[in-house]
Amino acid sequence: MNSLIKTAALVGTDAVAEAMRQINPDVVAAYPITPQTAIVETFSQMVADGLVKTQMIAVESEHSAMSATIGAASSGIRAMTCTSSQGLALMWELLYIASGLRLPIVMPNVNRSLSAPINIHCDHGDSMGARDSGWIQLFSENAQEAYDNTIQAIRIAEHPDIQLPVMVLMDGFIISHSIDRLDLQDDTSVQKFIGSRNPAYSLLDSQNPTSVGTFDSLYGYFFEFKRQQEEGMINALNVIQEVGNEFGTLFGRSYGLFETVGMEDAEYAVIATGSAAGTIRMEVEHLRSSGVPIGMIKLRSFRPFPAKQLAELLSGLKAVAVFDRSDTFAGHMGGPIFIELRSSLYDLEKKPLTINYVYGLGGRDLSEKLVKKAAGELMETAQNGFVRQTVNYLGLRE
């Protein structure tokens, strides 16, 4: 299929709104919150202009936004919402209901720090807090990936072996409010790619009535349902890859669980996610051009966490530095990606040394200079054969 491509200069929020216009969801229920507001604002205009057939529900909170989205999705149609930070926090109990009911809701979340103190800028603390809520979480490096991920998320969420909600993550302001050059596919190709939703059950199917949101406590099948949910997440490891490959074949941009730079001959590597991957890639490529055996992994899928795939890639390396844009406040355990990566490496015979860099909290900039500092320490660790300090705060005033 030859897909027509239109090159555009858009801020990340408009790129996501454009993806939503092309998806043309049946229902969008949303509430404004910085820095997500611009997505819904742009999309509302599209609804008002008659560019989509979406029924837009202006709700009074994010708790209601997710509730309305769950109700709509239960009827077998496509329902979306968007949020950020405190808004995601207010959705909390509903996040678990969306995944527990196996509803393929797609929600772009523009990553912003959680209060207190109040801060509107980027870190991953909001979505990382929802890491056990049963949602698939895909990170984006730039506006192009935010657009591409939003489209792919529909296919991933609705896959019969998955039936789980997907959060499309992009860094607040850095991606959401910066103008980026990106390629947009034509509407017909996007519609053809996503197809139509084919729900197993529908509340509006009067010929086959169902009950949704049932009570389970007397005999207790809750455990069985939760095990099924985990199976969906396990299946997602393959489906994310398959959908990413198909997207690449059709549109020329392939996606997987993660992306690598120079891992074929690297002796040590950096792992990062989100917009920081751009700055880090530049430094890694610069070092490699001067003969330094450094590699890089950009994590795209945080949920499911590709533990086995990452362990295979990192087996035998001397050292790995993990960049986390959030902290777990677990008492110097490091960030969430670090904790999960270290756990993934535990069974390896040849384990790399591991270092963690917590950076960029509340939007603190990750400069090239800071990446150089971390890369220098990583090289030193690999050469010395020991870790000077496991958890480090990069860019902290100390």
């Binding site: 009911l101 196996r102 197993a200 009535p209 949101g213 049932t214 099948y221 455990f223 069985e224 349902f225």
Partner: protein, 103 residues
Amino acid sequence: MTWDITEIQKWDWKKHPFGGTIKDPGNSRKFKTGGWRAFRPVRDENKCTQCLICYVFCPDSAIKTKDDKIIEIDYSFCKGCGICAQECPLDAIRMCDETKEQS
């Protein structure tokens, strides 16, 4: 295909329809809820005048009748709320402790 839950307690995790969705209506008859009961209503047939007030008040339709006469209390669904005993004008229903008295 109808969804028979008679053997649901023996199902493994793969067999359940996902998300706890109930895809066939009317199967609550097979979902026995009498296990909640701590007190069991026992009807004294000698005192009972078949006024059927208990039948009207029972929130779980656990008073079974035939030809306008009470034939039994269905313990598969009676949750022991005691409303029948409270409403009976002749005190013909007594609430017995499930763990101590069997009748």
